[in-house]
């Protein structure tokens, strides 16, 4: 019993010293990352793929939950990919990775994981919804975001806001007519009053910007002058005053020829 007690005390002491050394070196938990290679695991696990995936999933939760939040979780994406490669029908890791990986400065990995999940769960709207957020907020890719949000609409578990977000992403693309059609559809078919109200605001904004762009083209044709700002239209008499929308002030970018709200 004395030796057993000594062994327990020695283990506790060595664990504490090791963890302290990790903290001082500002290193996240050391994991045998080669262990998480799914192609290797599949060969040695005697086809216990689901149980292995579950074990790696539990390890992932312990790694993420028990680690230092101020340090990067370098093994996280690999562990998540290993879980879903062992069991592609394990739904939750796709969603978990889709939320956490962008926060870990790995938006592309998060997007790849969600894309993988979409192949196996094509009816889960959240996989597209989260992908849309990553594309819009982390990668600033409105076109991709619009695609994801549009696909998400109408699918299981998709929040109603997906319609709004699709429209907002579409509104920043070149094809304003398409965005306008989208908002008109939302206004016509949406039952949620707050979403209908937002659709009305955006539709009004798009109508205003489309009209302004037409007026600018007309002014340039008629006067032969290059219009550099909306103030020019007021000075030339095409507008009485600078237009306002509920989304804020508008500005004209002479390089792109677009009228958009001021950011």
């Amino acid at each position: 019993m004395i030796f057993l007690f000594t062994g327990v005390v020695a283990q506790i002491a060595s664990d504490n010293l090791f963890n302290q050394a990790l903290r001082e070196a500002r290193v996240q938990q050391i994991l045998p990352t080669n262990f998480f290679d799914s192609s290797v695991l599949k060969k040695i696990n005697l086809n216990f793929n689901k149980a292995t995936a579950d074990y790696i999933w539990l390890s992932t939760i312990q790694y993420f939950g028990g680690g230092n939040p101020n340090l990067p979780y370098e093994s996280l994406s690999q562990m998540l990919f290993t879980v879903v490669e062992l069991d592609p029908k394990f739904e939750y890791p796709y969603l978990f990775g889709g939320i956490i990986l962008p926060w870990q400065n790995e938006p592309e990995a998060g997007l790849r994981l969600l894309d993988k999940g979409q192949k196996h769960f094509p009816n889960n709207g959240l996989l597209y919804y989260y992908a849309g957020f990553i594309a819009k907020l982390n990668l600033n890719d409105s076109e991709r975001a619009a695609g994801y949000f549009q696909t998400a609409v109408g699918k299981k578990d998709t929040p109603p806001a997906a319609r709004l977000l699709a429209g907002i992403s579409l509104s920043s693309l070149d094809d304003k007519q398409f965005a306008k059609t989208w908002w008109e559809g939302v206004l016509e078919s949406e039952e949620n009053e707050s979403i209908k109200e937002r659709a009305r605001v955006w539709l009004d904004y798009l109508n205003t910007t489309i009209e302004l762009e037409k007026i600018i083209q007309l002014a340039q044709q008629q006067t032969g002058q290059k219009i550099s700002s909306l103030q020019d239209l007021v000075e030339l008499g095409y507008l009485i005053k600078l237009p306002q929308t509920e989304l804020g002030e508008l500005e004209y970018d002479a390089l792109t020829g677009r009228v958009d709200k001021v950011n």
Binding site: L46, F48, K50, A51, W57
Partner: protein
Amino acid sequence: MKALITVIHLTLLQIIKSKIFYLSLVLSLFLAVAVILFSDISLGQNIRIIQNFGLAGTFLLAVLISILASANIIGNEQQRGNIYLLKTKPVADLTYITGKFLGLTFGLLIIYLFSFLLVFAGASIFYEINTTQIIAPFVLSFLEIAILIAVAVLFSSFSTALFASILTLAIFFLGHSLDLIRSATTDSGFFLESVGQLVYYTLPNLEKFNLRETISNLPNLPTTYYWWTVIYASAYIIFCLCLSVIASNKREW
């Protein structure tokens, strides 16, 4: 028939009185508690963890015990010399081997069923377990264990308990790796490919009984699949028992 029933009965008693039996009960209890505790730290994936770990854990426990019990019970009889006493009785080798196999199979069924019920009945107190996804894998896993018992009986009929255990364990690993072996030897030349094919069809393909991985992806497996699997298991078991009888006959007692 009377002799067969006597051998089955005595084998069952040997299993129930053995330390392995009580150890298996204790391990089953640990497994049940561990599975439920692990499921609590799975971020909401409780039922999935219980199902996968429960099926895999109970199966591996039953496989280990079946290999150890089968090899040891027959091996011990030979070591203690009880087999010589039996040889003086009018008990045919076929009766003895079949009786041992059936006794071991019933004993392992008791152990496997106990651990299975302990894990899933315990878990069902806290969670709603989908029984359709665990019953079929349990049944096919038991058929796999029956094959391993037959293989262990075969190896025990001509070797020591330890060697029989090791060989049976090797067959367990090989049985789950046959697809890998076959794909590795495909397009590797006529000789290697032939060896690969021979190994694939000769050794027991234990993956056929692995419904743990596929049940959720293929919920509508036709009934004929299950019948063919039962026929495959029965044929292989009878093949092993026949080889055991031949090996036992050839042995000089």
